[in-house]
């Protein structure tokens, strides 16, 4: 950012809650079905229909709120947000307004600026204040392509209408696009972690809007804010914010003024464009939804939800650093998703924390990422990874062999011992057996033995090679070395 300037950024996230059915009726939330097949009088907004709250959406909303450090309010009120749009069948959206489901969140995340290559410079903790997380229904969607006479007609698919959403709004606490970027990623992971949302931006079940303004450093008043939409990935959002900050600074420095408006990110042209100005802004005429009772949850229920949630990623990362002595980077890596963290802990329990960490990070994750598999779909179980680590620790195979064994385990799904045995890789460590080979080798090479004993110690490698050859490579090199040294010395 240009020196002397500061950006002020607030974010709004809409996350689809992972319920089977819609928030106010029993229709399926399945994605990709025949248009308008998952509909009923309620989500079609037919005259006379009434909403009934899906309690599962409330539960998942509570999980999301707790995972993001918000306070769940014991009473919240649904409100109607009134506006006309063809994909909005009732002419209003059931949302929440002045009494949201949860509020006053304090979320600690880690963030870092990035260098030109996109690599994090230095991670630092960062606190985000989350104003509110409220529950609402999604609208349907207008379809303008792929159907007859789209020059004359628009089509409407109401399968998505009534899908439950959590809207998550922050205070204007971000000062850089990377802080916003790290926050959204944090939220995504937290929602996935507690099973509240798939939070996949490509699928559209997590959507993001940014409010951006700039001001000179030291200025306390906020500048005029611009709302950014059409941010279809976290990276697009970061780029859009970055572009918008520069645009606003340039505009002001050249004597212009920022207009309060909504702008869309154009990824192809890498710029933002005006969508609508403030003059066209809506008066949504919010009022309490008379068809629904106030949403009441008590402290016991909230506690029950909290207890049923898995350990949150940050807590788990901290525990990994303490309990397993992992570095910040390793602990962060293993807590990037719930399945991976579970995998690591099981592998560590089946071997040792250090070894499990090294083999998971260095070898198995590479295979998993290449195959596009999540940890819980790994063909190598955590217990088998642990068995492999033990085999190496105990010297049954070498580390180098271990890598080949792992690849084979990953390919075939076979256990560590089975692969080691099938490939005949198990090292011979039995001293008596090796001693016999050593004795045979020395007896077969009397000339070299004499030279060695006469002082030509460079021949030691020759003897090692012969022993390994005789053992077909299976002899434990460490035992071979020790025995050879002993026997060569002996008269």
């Amino acid at each position: 950012m240009k020196k002397g300037w500061e950006a002020v950024i607030g974010l709004e996230i809409h996350a689809q809650l992972s319920t089977e059915s819609k928030i106010f009726c029993g229709c399926s939330t399945r994605f990709g079905d025949e248009p308008n097949s998952n509909t009923c009088p309620v989500c079609l907004g037919l005259p006379g229909s009434l909403p009934v709250l899906n309690w599962r959406a409330v539960e998942l909303g509570a999980r999301a709120a707790l995972a993001l450090g918000l306070r769940v309010n014991e009473v919240s009120i649904f409100a109607r947000k009134n506006y006309f749009y063809p994909d909005l069948p009732k002419g209003y959206q059931i949302s929440q307004y002045d009494r949201p489901f949860s509020s006053d969140g304090h979320l600690e995340i880690v963030t870092a600026e990035r260098d030109e290559g996109g690599h994090a410079r230095e991670w630092r903790p960062f606190e985000v204040r989350i104003t509110r997380l409220h529950l609402e229904e999604d609208a349907g969607k207008n379809v303008h392509e792929g159907l007859p006479r789209t020059d004359l007609y628009s089509y409407i698919d109401l399968n998505r209408a009534g899908t439950p959403l959590a809207e998550i709004v922050t205070e204007p606490d971000f000062r850089t696009s990377w802080e916003a970027y790290d926050y959204v990623n944090h939220v995504r992971r937290a929602l996935q972690w507690v099973g509240a949302s798939e939070a996949d931006m490509e699928k559209g079940n997590l959507r993001c809007e940014a409010n951006v303004s700039v001001r000179r450093v030291g200025e306390e008043k906020f500048g005029t804010k611009v709302e950014l939409k059409n941010l279809n990935s976290v990276r697009f959002m970061q780029r859009a914010i970055e572009f918008e900050i520069e645009r606003q600074i340039e505009l002001i420095e050249s004597g212009g003024r920022v207009a309060q408006e909504t702008r869309l990110w154009d990824e192809r042209e890498a710029c933002t464009r005006v969508m609508r100005s403030k003059e066209e802004a809506h008066d949504y005429r919010y009022f309490p939804e008379p068809d629904l009772q106030p949403l009441a949850v008590n402290a016991d229920w909230i506690e029950q939800v909290r207890r049923a949630m898995p350990e949150l990623p940050d807590a788990r990362r901290k525990r990994f650093m303490g309990q397993y002595r992992l570095s910040f980077d390793d602990a962060s890596l293993f807590t990037r998703d719930h399945a991976l963290a579970d995998f690591y802990e099981r592998a560590a329990a089946a071997s040792n924390p250090r070894g499990a960490a090294n083999w998971l990070k260095g070898e198995l994750l590479r295979e998993l990422d290449a195959a596009g598999l999540a940890a819980d779909a790994s063909p190598v179980s955590p217990e088998e990874l642990g068995a492999l680590v033990r085999a190496i620790d105990e010297g049954r195979i070498s580390g180098k062999q271990g890598k080949d064994v792992l690849v084979e385990m990953f390919r075939t799904g076979k256990g560590a011992s089975q692969v080691i045995e099938e490939q005949g890789l198990a090292q011979v460590s039995d001293a008596a057996e090796i001693e016999k080979i050593v004795t045979d080798v020395l007896a077969a090479n009397p000339q070299q033995l004499a030279s060695y004993r006469a002082g030509k110690e460079a021949l030691f490698g020759f003897f090692v090679g012969q022993v390994m050859k005789a053992s077909k490579g299976k002899a434990n090199p460490k035992v071979v070395n020790e025995l050879l040294k002993e026997k060569l010395k002996a008269e």
Binding site: G48, L50, F84, P89, R285, Y286
Partner: protein, 501 residues
């Protein structure tokens, strides 16, 4: 002396004694509906085919002779037979699968809902035969039925006069003895007011007593499906059939439903009826005042203690009502946009024009007036001064009733300030039209039940009604009081336009 005409009790007893069949009952009702419709315009749709088929089905189920032994069938025999073969009319803002639901509006002309309202489901389960959909003020907005896009309903007592509204078609159908009972809906008095003007009984239940699922919304926090009956007992039987918690309406309460009909009694000695004297002064027609005073006297003679009560905030109820009801309506009627169903304007140039023209051409003047009022009171900058303030006064009105019920079991007032007025008399003066609801809309605001009972005729021979309002969930009490009065003073006069007997 009794109320003339075939009550539900009479129909079901004739049926079980084999004197008649379900088919004969239906045919008689359908014929009356058809024959009188040119005069009254009470029905927007008469379901001759469906009603006849259903009646024949009922006859088959009962056995060839339609005899009484059929009543003991299955577990719910008692409920199933409660309305067996009883013809019932349904207001056109309540969804009946297979029939239209225009709500008296051009914007829903030709609209056929794909589902049954919960109340209709329950009526069908109890054996009722739905004969048709009745005319009403557009989206239930009106007090004279002159706001229907399909022409006004006429009062069977005097066809130059209005039947009241908005459920005027249902009221006229019952008054003309086409059916012994009908469903209407109330937001501010749309059943009790036409009941009074047509000389029949009208009951509005406690808010949350009857499911609104399938009732096309007007003012959601006020709307209740309500019942017309030829007698109190007719209304009571239908009400107990449709009442009770519905999983599809989150505002229905899980409160058990008494057997209202069985609890009706002639002896009401010791009951206390409160009269808010300040509401019986100015603006009340002299005949209405006289009939209501006589009714109060009649209660005294029945051993009821008459006490004075005050409803100090009742005078604000019209103002509060027209803020809350219109606010909710402005939102509830947003869905009629021409996009998915109902009327759509021809060849709009763009989306905005489609919305504007569809709604301009589809809605009538009163509906537009209320949408604008409601939009205004919810607008940013006005919300606190209007909507929020009205909600606060609504709470005070509710408190008035709670206080009154400390000293009495029911509050008695006239149902309407005047008997039926002439067609066209008030159409140019919406405010004077709004005052027709002055006694009724307070019960909707407070959420309490109310029943309107005929109490004689005016000097011009028009029916007059009084109403009793009761405690939340206290329908039994007011129905019992209403029934005892009716037993002692049945309205035995007949309207001029009436089905042949």
């Amino acid at each position: 002396m009794t109320v003339p005409g075939k009550t539900i009790e009479l129909i079901t007893s004739e049926l079980s004694s084999g004197k008649t069949t379900a088919r004969a009952v239906a045919v008689r009702s359908l014929a009356a509906a058809e024959n009188l419709n040119d005069t009254l315009n009470a029905f927007l749709q008469i379901d001759r085919a469906g009603a006849t088929r259903r009646a024949e089905e009922l006859d088959r189920e009962a056995g060839t002779d339609g005899a009484a032994d059929s009543i003991v069938q299955g577990q719910n025999a008692a409920t199933e037979s409660l309305l067996r073969a009883v013809p019932i009319a349904v207001k056109d803002n309540i969804c009946v699968r297979g029939l239209q639901a225009t709500c008296g509006s051009r914007i829903l002309a030709g609209y056929h809902p794909p589902y049954d309202a919960t109340v209709v489901e329950r009526l069908r389960a109890a054996g009722a035969v739905i004969v048709g959909k009745t005319n009403c003020d557009e989206f239930a907005m009106g007090s004279s039925n002159e706001n229907s896009a399909f022409g006004p309903v006429r009062n069977p007592w005097d066809t130059e006069r209005v039947p009241g509204g908005s459920s005027g078609g249902s009221a006229a159908a019952v008054a003309a003895r086409v059916v012994p009972a009908a469903l209407g809906s109330e937001t501010g008095g749309s059943v009790r007011q036409p009941a009074a003007l047509c000389g029949v009984v009208g009951v509005k239940p406690t808010y949350g007593r009857v499911s609104r699922y399938g009732l096309v919304a007007f003012g959601s926090s006020l709307d209740q499906v309500s019942v017309f009956g030829l007698t109190v007992k007719d209304a009571a039987v239908v009400l107990q059939t449709i009442a009770g918690r519905d999983e599809r309406d989150a505002t229905t309460a899980d409160v058990s439903v008494p057997d209202y009909a069985a609890q009706l009694a002639d002896d009401i000695r010791g009951a206390r009826v409160g009269v808010p004297r300040e509401l019986l002064g100015e603006g009340v027609d002299a005949d209405v005042r006289a009939r209501v005073e006589e009714a109060i006297e009649a209660y005294r003679e029945l051993g009821v203690e008459i006490v004075d009560v005050a409803l100090p905030h009742a005078k604000y109820s019209i103002a509060v009502y027209y803020i809350i009801a219109t606010a909710e309506a402005s939102s509830n009627l947003a869905r009629y946009d021409g996009v998915r169903y109902g009327y759509r304007t021809e060849d709009p140039e763009d989306l905005r024009q489609m919305y504007r023209r569809t709604r301009d051409e589809g809605f009538g003047a009163e509906v537009k007036r209320r949408i604008m009022l409601g939009t205004y009171v919810l607008s940013s900058g006005y919300y606190d001064a209007y909507y929020l303030k009205a909600q606060k006064v609504r709470t005070l009105i509710q408190q008035d009733f709670l206080d009154a019920f400390d000293v009495c079991d029911a509050v008695l007032t006239p149902t309407t300030p005047t008997p039926a007025f002439r067609l066209g008399e008030k159409t140019d003066d919406p405010l004077s039209m709004y005052l027709s609801d002055i006694y009724t809309c307070m019960a909707n605001l407070a959420g309490v039940p109310g029943v309107s009972v005929p109490c004689g005729l005016s000097s011009a021979g028009l029916p007059v009604g009084f109403q009793l309002m009761g405690r939340h969930w206290g329908e039994s009490t007011i129905l019992r009081l209403a029934h005892a009065y009716e037993q002692a003073h049945p309205l035995d006069a007949r309207p001029r336009v009436m089905a042949e007997e």
